[in-house]
Each structure stands twice: as C-alpha cells, then as structure tokens.
C-alpha cells in the first residue's frame, strides 16, 4: 500500500525547521519505522518535515566524561565504529543487532528515541548507559533518558520539539546484553542490558510500556537476584503472560551473567 499524501518540507537549518513546525507536523529522520507505518496506513502525516539536511543534528562532540552523538547518527555508523564509542563496546553490539543492514544504513538513534517503540533497542541501551537527551524547541532543554521515556510511543517531546543530540557518559564497566526475538532482526520480545560498575544499571524492554530500570535487581546482584527480578517484573510489565515473564527473567539473568563473566 502507499501512504496517504502529505505536504513535504526539507529545511536546511534547525531554526527553519523549528519555525516551520506546528502541532500537525511529523518529523522524518531515517524513516525506517515511519515510512513503514505510513505505507501500512497505521499512521498518517499532514505536513512532513524532513530533518535529513540539518547539519545541527549531525556530528560528534567529545569531552573527557562523555560523547555527544548527533540525532541523525545512523545505527550503521555506530555498528562500524565510524563515530566514537563511549560505551566500551556496548553500543556497537546493540547497533549490529537492530533490524537489518539496509535498515541500519538509514535508521537513526534520534529517530528511534523519538518514536520510543516499547521493543526498540536504543531506549533500553541509553537507559542502561544513563544518557541525556538534548532537545530543541521554543527553548533548548536537556532531559535524563529516564524522565524522557514516558510510555509506549510516548516521550516528553512536545509538538514542534526536535531531538538534536544524545549525550552518553563514558563507560568502562563490564556489560552484558541478551535479546530474544522471533527471528533475527525482529523487534525484541525481551531485551535486557546490564552495565556493572559502582552503581550497576539494569534496563529491560519488550514490555507493554517502555524501557525500564530494574532497581531491585540492581541492588540484589549478590543477593536473592531471582526474587528481586521477579518483583521488578511485576512493576515493569504487570500484564506479562507466563511466556513473557519467563522470557524477561531469562534475558535479565543472561545479561547479568555476561556482564559478570
């Protein structure tokens, strides 16, 4: 099927994009979810603003403590190490398992965050890495990823706001990942990421709502871990059926095991 028609704008600067945006605007980044959803007509657009020419959304900024990646950084650039990796190998590993190579060549980290699919990889990974989202709109603002992600397909982005970049603290702690999908490249039934260090962080996605921290598990790494995870799961994915609960439990345990090995 074809998308319903829409008006198309391709501004060449961030101020122009922000000026052109209104409540009915749909932003196009890599389009690897949006175009499929438009073609399936599960969503529609009145006016589409193509962000691909905004140089402000590209590039990298490095400091001793963090790396800031432009929102238009593609999954393939992260997979290939074409941009600096603040995560000690975690982000390239995550990138390499997102969908398929042809999708990774177009899809962007900023687009993935803005859509906030409850089974997507980046919200979970960036939550495990304690990233900060840099947002432009009527004013510029920064928000911790944990506050930014609200629910399935829901973030704190207001109409007319654009993610400019994502700041990721440098990580040297061991990490582990485990993802269960029906087939390679499909969205995750369950994805767990564990980053150890002084304050261990465990993030889970594939839930009904959003990527979430498992705080009881984080503080029970050397205690009754299984009970802590199950207690976390009751909050993180309360409507999970028996399969999904076992799936989550297995991915979380496997991610922790890899991080600790």
């Amino acid at each position: 099927m074809k998308s319903a028609n829409f008006e198309y704008l391709r501004p060449t600067s961030l101020p122009d994009a922000l000026d052109a945006a209104n409540d009915e605007t749909t932003f196009l980044a890599g389009g690897q979810s949006l175009m499929a959803m438009l073609n399936l007509r599960v969503t529609s657009a009145e006016t589409m603003i193509d962000l691909s020419r905004l140089s402000e959304l590209r590039g990298v900024n490095e400091t001793p403590d963090a790396v800031t990646l432009g929102a238009l950084t593609t999954h393939a650039m992260i997979e290939d190490g074409a941009v600096p990796d603040p995560s000690g190998g975690l982000m390239p590993r995550i990138a390499s398992k997102i969908a398929y190579r042809a999708v990774r060549n177009m899809g962007t980290i900023g687009g993935s965050l803005a859509l906030a699919d409850p089974a997507a990889d980046w919200p979970c990974c960036l939550l495990a890495l304690d990233a900060t989202v840099l947002i432009e709109g009527a004013t510029s603002r920064e928000e911790a990823i944990e506050d930014f992600l609200q629910d399935a397909y829901t973030t704190t982005l207001e109409a007319g706001e654009i993610i400019r970049a994502i700041r990721i603290p440098r990580n040297t702690a061991p990490w582990g990942v485990y993802k269960v999908t029906r087939k390679s490249g499909a969205f995750a039934d369950s994805l767990a990421i564990c980053v150890l260090g002084d304050a261990p962080r465990i993030a889970l996605t594939g839930t009904q709502s959003r990527a979430q921290r498992l705080r009881r598990a984080e503080s029970a790494l050397h205690g009754d871990l299984r009970a802590a995870i199950l207690a976390d799961l009751a909050d993180a994915d309360p409507d999970a059926d028996a399969y999904k609960r076992r799936c989550h439990l297995a991915t979380v345990l496997a991610a922790i095991k890899e991080a600790q090995s």
Partner: protein
Amino acid sequence: MIDVTLTLNGTPRTVSVEPRETLSDLVRNRCDMTGTHVGCDHGACGACTVHLDGMPVRSCIVLAATCDGREVRTIEATRKDETFGVIRRHFHEKHALQCGFCTLGMLMMAADIIARHPTPSEDQIRNALSGQVCRCTGYMGIVAAIASAAEELRGA
C-alpha cells in the same frame, strides 16, 4: 509535485514526484527501471534493495524526496560491472535463485557483504542476508554463491 534531482545509475536526472512517493516508486514508475522489485512495500522483505550513496537501503521505505542530491544505483547499473558479473555467475552455478523475484535484492546485498567482509564467514553471510526474504531456494545456494564469489574476487 516536487522535483527531485539525483544521480540515477550514473546519469543526473530531475524527476517530479508526489511527496508520498518512495524511492522504489521513483525508479519503477517515474524512470521505468523495473528491475527493482517491490515485495511488501513496508520494509519487511528486502526485495527492493538498491544502493543509496553506495549503501544498501530498502527503496520502499526511503522517501523519494529525501534522495535529492544523492546517488542511487539499481540493478540495471550492474550489468557491466565486473564484481556483479562474478557474483551473478556464482548465483547461476550454485542454483541461488528459482523464480528470481528476490534476486536483485540478494545481488545488491551480496555486493555489500563482499565489500565489507572480503572473507565472509557463513555466519556473517547469513546475518547480513537475514533481511532478504527468499521463498524458493531455502537460502543454501545463496549463501554458497556469496561465499564462492567472495573467494574468487579475493583471488582476482
């Protein structure tokens, strides 16, 4: 309608499209290059794979308008390409196709696999092909063809 100026198979062109048209619409319907096949039209099957600025993309989920100023290469441009010639011969010899609907996507992806992994392992080939759906072959011949084409191209 909006005008899109791009380089298509080495030739600069300006093409008028509706905003909603995809890159696959542009090459098939506006430029009469029907070698690019559309299987699913929502990025699930990989049959419509073309190269955009040298990288494989799914042309059914790339907006035509966003390709302004960019370089697109479709299967039509590969007829006289030596690398594609080798890959195509190995597809023939290893029975890597039956009906042929997915084959152009397989070839576009195969060239990318060999460019990125000159000595690809079977795992690398299978992972990279996981987004290309073939309902005839069971993939064995395709994987074998890419492995043997890579071997010949390494020696060349």
